[in-house]
Symmetry: C2
Subunit: 217 residues, 2 copies
């Protein structure tokens, strides 16, 4: 109640299963009195490429351009400054053990130095340490397929630890819907109901312990 | 000698350290008699977003669009079909424990079903099993910084295993240059020389064992 929620949504098709998950999240969280904002990246035609257009001044020689993004000196995409709020929920289909490029581009361009982290202000001291996050995604393969070779948690390390934890953002348990396209309509409905149910008590959840043990125990 | 090499390069600035690494690779491999092709993603203004423009026909309801890419039914970006060859070398600065979005978009849009994998033709049976790959990248943080929390190999899992190994592509040891922007000019020159040196005997290298143990032992 009174919480601000930003949903960064990365699916092309409103009628997709991801679209249904989004709709449920917006409805349930709004009903709770949260203020919900959706960044629908494909609909916004969000630019995933980090280029010199994002950078003020001339890049120095031999320094990777990305490192020159300096929020404090004036980041020239003001629309991006509004993109972080109490609870960012990342919502997407898993592409290649990872986020789709358009969502990775959101991370690359929004979470800049001076805004999300700064020199030694990282991890528990990151600049976004009063925020919570949650990754909600669907997969192509079944749960069993992901378990054959290791554990699905392995692929969460770069997203949850390398991005969110690095910026100080606490991380709730991810919400994974396995292979919605390969299950029955009834099972899909169960998955949607489970998401709705989880959202009802979301604010009582404890963040995960974002240590290597959680991922690779 | 006689090998075809594709370098997928993702840096905005030719004068960057990544640009120098690219130049060395092109020179050394050409000198060996390899046929070297460079996909300079930023220069090509490569589109990282996978949209319905990539898809033939109408997407079905409730099915994630990405799954509808069907190479065999006619993939409508023919320029992308040429993108795989004997040795893809991915060359990029690490952004957020991961590839930059533009390179992730290359993976999303080039490695489509029917071309890179197919139903049960995955991992050692993947469709690109006669190919080798190598990830060459630079980092912002020092080697020590990456070792504080786990191991840099953790973040290689989605890229090397989840993408390359999944398609059957064998993976050579990654080539990592740590924090080139924070070291002396002399150290940078040493790093460039080491890359050049490694390339001289590259074709004698054995691929890594792409099992969970390699990453998380």
């Amino acid at each position: 109640p009174g919480k601000n929620v930003l949903i960064v949504y990365a699916h092309q098709e409103p009628k997709s299963f991801n679209g249904s998950l989004l709709k449920i999240a917006v409805e349930e969280l709004t009903k709770q009195g949260c203020s919900v904002t959706v960044s629908d990246l494909y609909a916004m035609q969000f630019e995933p490429r980090a280029t010199r257009n994002d950078i003020v001044g001339e890049p120095s020689q031999n320094i990777p351009l990305s490192k020159k993004s300096d929020f404090s000196r004036g980041y020239n995409c003001p629309c991006l400054l509004l993109e972080m709020d109490d609870l960012p929920v990342e919502s997407f289909p898993l592409f290649w053990f990872n986020m789709p490029a358009i969502l990775k581009g959101w991370m690359d361009r929004v979470l800049v130095q001076g805004f999300a982290y700064d020199l030694s202000k990282v991890y528990d001291g990151g600049l976004l340490q009063d925020k919570l996050s949650l990754f909600s995604f669907t997969t192509g393969g079944s749960k069993e397929k992901y378990a054959i070779r290791g554990d699905i948690r392995y692929l969460l390390w770069p997203m949850q630890h390398g991005i969110m934890h690095f910026c100080g953002v606490k991380v709730l348990e991810p919400h994974i819907c396995y292979a919605p396209e390969n299950v029955s309509e009834e099972k899909r409905k169960e998955m949607l109901a489970a998401w709705s149910q989880r959202l009802k008590t979301l604010w009582k959840e404890e963040p995960i312990d974002c240590s290597p043990e959680w991922y690779f125990k």
